[in-house]
């Protein structure tokens, strides 16, 4: 019996030698970027820690977080090839995640600070 419920589509899991050359070049470039970002983070963390940084710490902290998100972006977009997928698929993966995680971070930090204030007020 011929089944008509199987959707056929090409896997297209192949590329040529020349394309491979280009892709490898890109991989090594991203490797360099990721390594440099990590190196910067480690050097700042080792030689300019919180107690040395003082009031600049807030900026450094957010700098770390931004660098982390940049690294994550390179890993997802290049190493996981999400950048080459169809736009619909990109949105399907990224948008729900961003919405949920921002929701979670907002509520947990909001609640955390509120609980902390309550502690401060009623501890004594």
């Amino acid at each position: 019996m011929v089944r008509d419920d199987i959707i056929e589509y090409s896997l297209d899991a192949h590329h040529s030698e020349e394309e491979g050359e280009k892709i490898r070049k890109k991989i090594w470039k991203v490797t360099a970027i990721l390594s440099i970002i990590t190196l910067v983070e480690v050097l700042v963390g080792a030689f300019y820690p919180k107690e040395v940084a003082g009031s600049a710490w807030e900026f450094i902290k957010w700098g770390y977080i931004i660098l982390t998100v940049i690294k994550a972006g390179y890993i997802v977009m290049v190493f996981m090839h999400l950048g080459e997928e169809r736009k619909t698929f990109k949105m399907m993966i990224i948008i729900p995640y961003i919405i949920f995680i921002l929701y979670l971070i907002f509520h947990l930090s909001n609640e955390g600070i509120s609980v902390g204030d309550t502690w401060n007020t009623f501890r004594h």
Binding site: I7, E8, Y9, S10, L11, D12, A13, H14, H15, S16, E17, E19, G20, I23, R24, I27, W28, T31, L34, S35, T38, E41, V42, G45, A46, P49, K50, K61, Y64, I65, T68, K71, A72, I75, V76, V78, F79, M80, H81, E84, E85, R86, T88, F89, I93, P96, Y97, F100, I101, L104, I105, L108, S109, E111, G112, I113, V115, G116, W119, N120
Partner: protein
Amino acid sequence: MSSPASKQIDSATLWGGKISPLSISYGKLMMWFFLVSDALTFGGLLASLGFAKFSNPENIAAWPAGEQVFTHMPFLHGPDDVYPLLYVALMTFILIVSSVTMVLAVEAGHRMDKRGVIKWLTLTVVGGLIFLGSQVWEWSTFIAGPDGNLSTWNDNATLQHNVYGGEYEPIVDSHGHTIGTDVKSYGPTLYADFFFFITGFHGFHVFTGVLFNIIILLNVFKGTYEKRGHYEMVEKVGLYWHFIDLVWVFVFTFFYLV
């Protein structure tokens, strides 16, 4: 790029059935869905770490500074051997490199280059095992003490200079006699709970990732994918492996940097 997603297909055909509208195979799609849910788990864990820290002012004061969390190096036990961040930075670098070898294995698979896949996938497995070993050493260094339950060496210089350790609390019996000492190891217990749970949960992912990579590597050796005509399986475990690297990037930031 040769990715199927770059092909122009009019939307009537694309969404009219008989074709994947996302130009992605079932297996890869499901792997992505799984990774999104797993990423939410890790996101929830890290967000609750922040909640725990900021919900108690005592925690904010007692929480260890990121770069001070782990300052040890193997074979160096002297009192001056304090290397903030260095060991963890090496672990991070090992994981990034193993992620690169994985993406190179995927690329070799696209060219049906069996020898290339074997070479890069083997290196990925080796990188994963080195990372796991490093984490074992880190954990055992945390847990071990001169009288610790899990002793890795006798002249343990580690806990004396550990932000969590080196504080000895006398164990006093009911008559007031000191009958021994107990190492108070982990500073705020809550911090240690999060530290061991999150790095442990990540380590478990690395462990299963290495396992998957080994299984796929054996199949590559056997020629399963050569026969099948494509190396998409390498791509799928590759997605999982990159995800592990992705999580570590965040774990590294929120435990060892900020």
